[in-house]
């Protein structure tokens, strides 16, 4: 099965999330520096500043690398997802184990015309985040056909 990368818009989305994270970290840092006393300002400013700078660097690098490493593919039998930068995960989900499929979209995802696909099985739920809306719809349609035509296993318990 040939695995494909996510659309470029996903990188924008990841950077948007990183920017929100950056604002939160900088806000927290500024609040601590303003609220702490004169005596502690230098010590806290340096130590927390180094930690905050490291964290920011990590957020932006992981956003890019996470995008590069995310690949997915599916055929009439299974879905395969590969993701993760430090901990690399490869998930294999048989189509016949899928119970239902959902498309999920947040406000930024709507703006960027992206959508996630939530896959529910009888045990775990998996999310394919994120695809172009049209790809997500196409995937759901294709998988739905296979779900309908898939043979019912003896253990099918209509969970």
């Amino acid at each position: 099965m040939k695995l494909q990368n996510l659309p470029r818009a996903v990188l924008k989305l990841r950077f948007a999330y990183s920017a929100i994270g950056t604002l939160a970290i900088l806000g927290f840092y500024a609040a601590v520096i303003i609220l702490c006393g004169e005596q502690l300002r230098l010590a806290l400013g340096v130590s927390l500043g180094v930690a905050a700078a490291g964290l920011l660097l990590l957020i932006w690098i992981l956003a890019k690398m996470g995008y590069d490493r995310y690949r997915y593919g599916y055929d009439e039998k299974r879905i395969v997802v590969e993701k993760g930068v430090i901990f690399r995960r490869k998930i294999v989900i048989p189509i016949c184990q899928i119970q239902d499929l959902h498309r999920v979209q947040g406000p930024i995802m709507l703006l960027l015309k992206l959508g996630g696909v939530e896959i529910s099985t009888a045990g775990s739920n998996f999310t394919l985040a994120y695809l172009a809306t049209s790809d997500a719809d196409k995937m759901i349609d294709r998988l739905a056909v296979n779900l309908d035509s898939g043979e019912v296993t003896e253990n099918e318990e209509v969970l």
């Binding site: 005596q39 502690l40 230098l42 010590a43 806290l44 340096v46 130590s47 927390l48 180094v50 930690a51 039998k77 299974r78 993760g84 430090i86 901990f87 690399r88 995960r89 490869k90 998930i91 294999v92 989900i93 048989p94 189509i95 016949c96 184990q97 119970q99 529910s120 099985t121 009888a122 045990g123 775990s124 739920n125 998996f126 296993t153 003896e154 253990n155 318990e157 209509v158 969970l159």
Partner: protein, 510 residues
């Protein structure tokens, strides 16, 4: 639609009274007048009627809620399904087809037993509704027994609706063989092991507390003699606390095992299994053997030292308390306490298809079990130290206090590292996989050793987890996702050869 049993309101008259009493006790100090020294000098007489009035109002509100609950809730038994409606503010209507009934549980606490009320829950096992059972019926005990018997038969498509009115035989499961007896001797042993386990973890946490106490004392007192005095006092206090807590834990555990597992019985009835236990809260659970997704054998550290184990079942809907919102937190018990060497013997009688497979190859390498924790913990430790020590210098707390804090930090680091290393060694030793036909046995866990046995037809997904270094070394960890409660459906298989991925994926039904 048939309403729930009226006696349930009477049960709530008592339990709600207890809740109101707790609320009243929490706020009763508002009535007392204290002087500046904190001595009691009188009672706010003007507030007493208000206080009593508020308590009565709260009690009435509780009762009113129960009355509304009774009026608005009920159930209906149709030809192919059961319908249930319940709730006052948030109302819920549920329908469950008989063919989709996964687990049937009966629950009855001591007050409900006095008033002859029982709660029957029917669960479909759907993960989407894993927060609670779909159908809850509150009825008198005889009706619940009759309904239980009825649902047991109709879920197989056997009994017609008319059979609902048939009388239920008195305690039908008594006629079947009880496969396990939890004797008083076993309960005492079970309690002792629980108490020793509690003591072990108390000693560990006591040591950490002592370190914290040492650091705290060091910060408060700059002179070294004072620190030593504080340390000795702290050590004595910790020992007294440990002994006291262990005694309480032992007594508590005895009471728990005798009360919770009172009259424990496991019986088989054609293709169903029935498990009953409990004194104050009586549980009667029934489900088809085919609904069992996995068997999990667990051994805590102390249990393992003495060669004991417990066996639990992974059946969606059968948990410790299926009627409440904490469903799925703890999986259902099959055998609460037995010798490890007897596990396969018990399983071969009860569930032969879930007999534990022979241990396969061990984990490929020890280093990955400890490497990530060491790295992250050291980084966090350095980051915390990087903030704390500059602060101590900035606050000019003195060299002695800084030295003592540094020592406490170092000891805490060593203690945590030692505990995690021990857990990693145990994980390394425990990890194993055995595949025999369609049966998969996964050995794992650290302080608590877990053996999971399940059929490959219940495997819903395979997840490989690796890192760049592990990829180069050709090793990976795996997460096997099984059909089960959403909190317990992942079985971890640590540090194996990456080559077994193909074997695991081939076990998936596609």
């Amino acid at each position: 639609m048939k309403r729930f049993c009226k006696n349930n309101v009477l049960c709530h008259l008592i339990t709600d009274l207890a809740y109101v009493a707790i609320i009243a006790i929490s706020f009763i100090d508002m009535l007392f007048i204290e002087d500046e020294a904190g001595e009691l000098v009188g009672i706010e007489t003007a507030l007493v009627p208000l206080f009593i009035g508020a308590c009565v109002l709260i009690y009435l509100a509780f009762i009113l809620y129960q009355v509304f609950y009774l009026r608005l809730s009920g159930y209906q038994i149709n030809e192919n399904e059961v319908f249930c409606q319940r709730g006052v503010i948030f109302r819920r209507k549920s329908r469950l087809e008989y063919s989709k009934i996964n687990a049937i549980n009966k629950r009855q606490n001591i007050i409900q037993r006095i008033f002859g009320v029982a709660v029957l829950t029917l669960d479909s096992g759907a993960t989407k509704t894993a927060g609670g059972a779909e159908i809850i019926i509150v009825e008198d005990t005889r009706t619940v027994d009759r309904l239980m018997s009825y649902f047991r038969s109709v879920k197989d498509g056997a009994a017609p609706v008319s059979s609902l009115n048939a009388e239920v035989c008195e305690k039908p499961q008594k006629l079947c063989t009880n496969y396990y007896e939890f004797t008083s001797k076993s309960k005492l042993l079970f309690s002792l092991i629980n108490a020793v386990t509690a003591l072990f973890f108390l000693v560990l946490s006591g040591a950490v507390l002592l370190l914290a106490f040492f650091a705290f004392s060091a910060l408060r007192l700059v002179n070294a003699d004072g620190i030593l005095e504080y340390l000795i006092t702290g050590a004595v206090a910790a020992v007294i606390l440990l002994v006291g807590t262990s005694a309480v834990s032992f007594i508590g555990s005895i009471i728990y095992s005798f009360v919770s597992y009172y009259g424990f019985s496991v019986t088989k009835d054609n293709d169903s299994i029935n498990i009953s236990y409990g004194l104050f809260v009586r549980h009667e659970n029934s489900f088809k053997l085919s609904k069992i997704k996995a068997v999990k054998v667990s051994q805590g550290l102390i249990k393992r030292l003495f060669g004991f184990a417990s066996i639990n079942l992974e059946v969606i809907g059968y948990t410790v308390d299926s009627s409440s919102e904490n469903k799925g937190e703890e999986i259902g018990v099959l055998i609460p306490f037995c010798k490890m060497c007897e596990v396969n013997e018990i399983l071969s009688e009860l569930l032969p298809e879930f007999k534990i497979g022979e241990r396969g190859e061990s984990a490929k390498s020890f280093f990955p079990f400890i490497s990530w924790f060491s790295l992250i913990f050291t980084l966090v430790f350095c980051a915390v130290s990087g903030v704390v020590f500059p602060l101590l210098f900035a606050l000019s707390v003195g060299a002695a206090a800084i030295k003592a804090t540094a020592l406490a930090f170092a000891l805490a680091y060593a203690a945590v590292f030692a505990i995690v290393s021990l857990n990693a060694v145990l994980k390394y030793k425990n990890s194993s996989l055995s595949v025999s036909g369609a049966k998969i046995t996964v050995y794992g866990g650290g302080f608590i050793k877990r053996i999971s046995v399940f059929d490959s037809k219940n495997l819903v997904a395979v997840e490989r987890v690796s890192t760049p270094m592990r990829e180069r070394a050709g090793i990976s960890s795996f997460v096997l996702h099984i059909r089960a409660n959403s909190e317990t459906n992942e079985i971890h298989l640590d540090i194996r050869s990456s080559e077994i991925e193909g074997e695991l994926v081939s076990l998936l039904r596609v």
